[in-house]
C-alpha cells in the first residue's frame, strides 16, 4: 500500500504538532523540517484546519496550533481526509443468478472474486489505521529510535 504525498505531509504535520503539545508552528517550519514544498504544505494544513485538527493563529509569527487529542485521534482520522479507504467500496457478495439468466461474462466473474479479496485487504488496512492513535504512533517512533 502506498499513501499519497498529501497524506504523508498531513501525517508528518499532525505528528509534529502532537509531539509538541501547545506549541504554535508555522507552515514554513514544518516544510523545512520535513522537506515538503511550502506551497503544497499550506494546502494540506488548510485541509487539516477545516477538519478541526488545527486552528490557525493570525498575526506576526502566526501559524497553527493543534486542537486534536493525540490520544484519541487515529491515523485513519488523518488518512481518511485525503484518501478513500473504504471497506464497503469494493462490493463483495456475488448476486444470486436467476434461473435461465445468461451466464455472466468471464471478466465480471474474475472481477467479483477479486473484489472479495481486495475488500479483505481493505478491512485489515482500516482496522490497522483506525486503532493506531497519534500517541501510539509517537511511541512507535520513539521505540524505533532506540
Amino acid at each position: 500500500m502506498r499513501l499519497q504525498k498529501n497524506t504523508l505531509a498531513a501525517l508528518c504535520s499532525v505528528l509534529e504538532f502532537a509531539a509538541n503539545p501547545g506549541l504554535q508552528l508555522s507552515a514554513a517550519e514544518i516544510a523545512a523540517k520535513y522537506r515538503i514544498s511550502p506551497h503544497h504544505l499550506a494546502k494540506v494544513l488548510r485541509s487539516l484546519g477545516r477538519a478541526g485538527l488545527l486552528e490557525s493563529v493570525r498575526g506576526v509569527g502566526g501559524g497553527y496550533r493543534f486542537t486534536g487529542n493525540a490520544k484519541r485521534l487515529t491515523l485513519m482520522d488523518v488518512i481518511g481526509l485525503f484518501e478513500n479507504i473504504s471497506a464497503a467500496r469494493r462490493g463483495g457478495r456475488r448476486p444470486a443468478r436467476r434461473e435461465g439468466a445468461p451466464a455472466r461474462p468471464a471478466a465480471a466473474e474474475v472481477e467479483e472474486a477479486l473484489a472479495v479479496v481486495l475488500s479483505e485487504i481493505d478491512e485489515i488496512a482500516r482496522a490497522t489505521f483506525s486503532t493506531i492513535t497519534l500517541d501510539t504512533m509517537l511511541k512507535l517512533m520513539a521505540r524505533r529510535r532506540r
Partner: protein, 150 residues
C-alpha cells in the same frame, strides 16, 4: 475516580467471581456463570504455573480482570504468552487499570522465561485494539482464517 495507588493486582479468588461475571456481562451483554465457574477451575490461582487469572482490586471492589496462559508450540510457535481476555468496569476505564493488569501478566510471563505476548482480537473491536496497540503491540506474522462448514 479510583486510586491507582490503592489498587492491587492479584490472583483471582472464588469470592471475586460474582463481580467478574458482572463486569463480563456488562461488556458482552451475556451472563455466563457456568462458563466463569469453569474458567476459575482451569485458570484460578495457583492451579497451574503457566495459567493466570488476575483481578485488579481497589477498596474491595473488583475493577477488572485478565486471563492469560503460556502455551508451548501452539500452531508450531515456540512458547509464548497468550492473553485471552481482559475487561475493566466501564466506570473505572481510562485510569490505567487495563495497563496494570497487562503489566502484571507480562511480569508473570517473564518469570516463566517467556518474552513474547500475543492475543487475537475481533477486527471491528477498535476499543480493545487501540488499547493493545497503545501497549506497543503490533500485528503478529499470522493471519486468522475461517470458513463455514457446509
Amino acid at each position: 475516580m479510583i486510586s491507582l495507588k490503592k489498587m492491587r493486582v492479584r490472583g483471582v479468588q472464588p469470592g471475586d467471581l460474582a463481580q467478574v461475571i458482572e463486569i463480563d456481562a456488562g461488556i458482552t451483554g451475556l451472563r455466563k456463570p457456568e462458563y466463569w465457574g469453569e474458567i476459575l477451575g482451569r485458570y484460578g490461582s495457583g492451579r497451574r504455573r503457566q495459567r493466570f487469572f488476575l483481578v485488579a482490586e481497589a477498596d474491595r471492589r473488583i475493577e477488572g480482570f485478565a486471563i492469560a496462559e503460556v502455551r508451548d508450540w501452539e500452531y508450531g510457535m515456540p512458547p509464548c504468552g497468550w492473553v485471552f481476555a481482559i475487561g475493566v468496569r466501564p466506570d473505572a476505564r481510562l485510569e490505567g487499570v487495563g495497563t496494570r493488569l497487562l503489566e502484571a501478566i507480562g511480569e508473570g510471563f517473564r518469570r516463566l522465561g517467556v518474552t513474547k505476548v500475543r492475543t487475537i482480537l475481533a477486527r471491528d473491536n477498535h476499543l480493545i485494539l487501540s488499547f493493545f496497540r497503545s501497549q506497543g503491540m503490533m500485528a503478529a506474522p499470522f493471519i486468522a482464517l475461517e470458513k463455514d462448514l457446509e
